[in-house]
Point group: C2
Chain length 140, copies 2
């Protein structure tokens, strides 16, 4: 009997494993975290193409589910995410990437983090810091 799926074979401390794209219909969720503060900035999705593009350019590149196309984060706003560290989880189906967020904000609404609604007393309250005005950055 082999090792459980979640425990990869090890060679020294290097592990022989690959991202499992099949589980999520060729997409894996990717958590983006600020490398300096550890604040979680957003969650995006990558397919193999955007994963390879991320490695090649050292900038976050996602698959846009709504537009069904490759999406280089920052291509419109100039607010790229410079990749600092990349992690894979035990099931090999989720990525965590630590980045330097150019422009200081990840959310297209101008907030530092996309997670700017905090649950309080049964409702959602705006929380966090708005860094830019989306009208100025996106012209709309």
């Amino acid at each position: 009997m082999g090792a459980p799926n979640c425990l990869p074979r090890t060679r020294g401390r290097m592990t022989v494993m690959e991202i499992n794209f099949e589980k999520g219909k060729e997409l894996v969720p990717v958590i983006i975290q600020d490398a300096s503060t550890n604040e979680v900035l957003m969650l995006g999705y990558m397919n193999r193409e955007s994963w390879e593009k991320t490695l090649e350019t050292k900038r976050s590149c996602f698959w846009s589910r709504s537009r069904q196309k490759l999406w280089i984060k920052g291509e419109t706003s100039g607010h790229f995410q410079e990749v600092k560290e990349i992690y894979l989880d035990c099931d090999r189906d989720t990525l965590l990437i630590k980045v330097e967020q150019i422009g200081g904000a990840a959310c297209h609404t101008g907030f530092r983090s996309c997670f700017h609604h905090r649950y309080e007393k049964g409702g959602w309250k705006i929380s966090g810091e708005r860094i830019f005005d989306p009208k100025e950055v996106y012209g709309k």
Copy 2:
């Protein structure tokens, strides 16, 4: 024309919005972060039932996609996740929950974080701290 989908109506600083379960076939990804250190511990999925159970018990409760059942994190190991803060993203389709991780480790392999494979020079290297021996905790 109404406001873009991502910008909820506001009443004072409270927003009238609901989690969008429909987008991901009744499941939303949930990032679990250590409330003290901001380390990302794992990513799970919630349906409405597990979301309500999480609110009711103030402990993380997920939907297990592999077992297709409600999964109270820690029900076998005793390593529950005490919920401290809950955030929703701009698209209303991803949750971020800050927790106190009982037992100090979130991963069933005994590591503090499920994200214990770090990408280096084209491969994955074991990274992070193993807190417990899974054989002792799960008996297997």
